[in-house]
């Protein structure tokens, strides 16, 4: 059964994920595709942010070249919801977000009504009023 992984804004279909209750084993390639985290000499990195892989962790299996995403997310303080019947795993935000470390506004890229993409960081040099409203 194909497993759908919802991580950040990514929606990834993984044909051969090994799931077992609260474990979600992905090949290294699928893990990187599904999450954006990459394996580097210094640990696992998302852009400039790297976390070391603690020794003796059972959620990374170098021999089988796979990683348990559910456990890794737990290590980052992210919540996971597994819907086994529907083959969907969803991950929530980390409980200690990066914004706590600085007052820098988290960046995002979203489309306008015409589909043109806008990135917050492109507005550096100007004051920004980020105003949220809804269409309901």
């Amino acid at each position: 059964m194909t497993t759908t992984v919802l991580y950040g804004t990514r929606v990834t279909e993984v044909p051969d994920a090994a799931t077992d209750r609260d474990r979600l084993w992905l090949s290294f390639a699928d893990f990187e595709k599904a999450t954006g985290w990459e394996r580097k000499p210094q640990g696992l990195c998302l852009g400039e942010t790297c976390v070391p892989i603690p020794a003796g962790k059972h959620w990374i299996d170098e021999r089988a070249e796979r990683i348990d995403l559910a456990a890794f997310a737990g290590y980052l303080g992210q919540s996971a919801v597994a819907d086994a019947a529907n083959g969907v795993w969803g991950f929530g935000p980390a409980t200690s977000p990066a914004v706590l470390l600085s007052a820098e506004a988290p960046d995002f890229t979203l489309p306008d009504l015409d589909g043109k993409m806008h990135t917050l960081a492109d507005y550096r040099g100007k004051k920004v009023l980020l105003y949220s409203w809804a269409s309901w």
Partner: protein
């Protein structure tokens, strides 16, 4: 995600209708007639956030919420109600009429907010309304585990709904609302997804409950 909502925006929000703003809308928004007259099509980018990305990144649980970001990309005011009070609670949910006192309070809150915003635009970091980084960090404590779990459920529910499986989506959306009852963003989205006919009609009343699909 809220495709039906976007369609409603396209269909109903047109420049031609702006001059016909009814008194109920003025009262709710804290606008006076002159301000409503000046309304036009926005000249700033209006972005569509189907996945509630910004809400999750910034911890936004209701609208209207605003964040002030300075020229260097630093937050100087964290997410907070943008000049709105809870005067809508006094609104008659059938006629949408609001008692004069509540309408006046909405107007007052809006004026204070806009004045503060203008003060920051003029004075920048010297404005008393621009907060220090330590204060921003204090106010923007990260989500609790319960809130993060609610986000994960919401995400799974929204995904299943998009895939045309509303029955599989419903328990996740309900769980998200149960875990984070203060999130009107979740609540409204869940209501609209379970009953698309309600799109555009979901007022911010306190007596809305989740409805089963009919």
């Amino acid at each position: 995600m809220d495709v039906a909502g976007a369609a409603v925006v396209r269909e109903f929000i047109r420049p031609a209708t702006v001059g016909d703003t009814p008194q109920e809308i003025l009262d709710l928004m804290g606008w006076d007639a002159e301000l409503a007259e000046r309304a036009g099509m926005p000249t700033y980018p209006c972005l569509i956030d189907r996945e509630h990305v910004v809400a999750e990144l910034y911890g936004i649980v209701n609208v209207p919420t605003a964040v002030w970001i300075d020229e260097a990309g630093r937050i100087v005011r964290p997410p907070e109600p943008a000049g709105m009070g809870d005067g809508f609670r006094a609104m008659n949910t059938t006629t949408f009429e609001m008692p004069a006192e509540a309408a006046a309070d909405n107007k007052r809150r809006r004026r204070i907010y806009v004045d503060a915003l203008r003060d920051w635009i003029a004075k920048g970091v010297r404005s008393e309304h621009a907060l220090a980084p330590e204060e921003i960090q204090r106010r923007m404590a990260g989500p609790t585990r319960r809130e993060a779990l609610a986000d994960a459920h919401f995400r799974v529910g929204a995904h299943l709904h998009r895939r045309g499986r509303p029955d599989a989506a419903r328990p996740h959306l309900e769980e998200a609302v149960r875990l984070r009852p203060e999130s009107w963003s979740f609540r409204r989205q869940a209501i609209v997804l379970s009953d698309p006919a309600l799109t555009g009609q979901v007022a911010a009343t306190t007596d809305i409950t989740m409805r089963r699909s009919r």
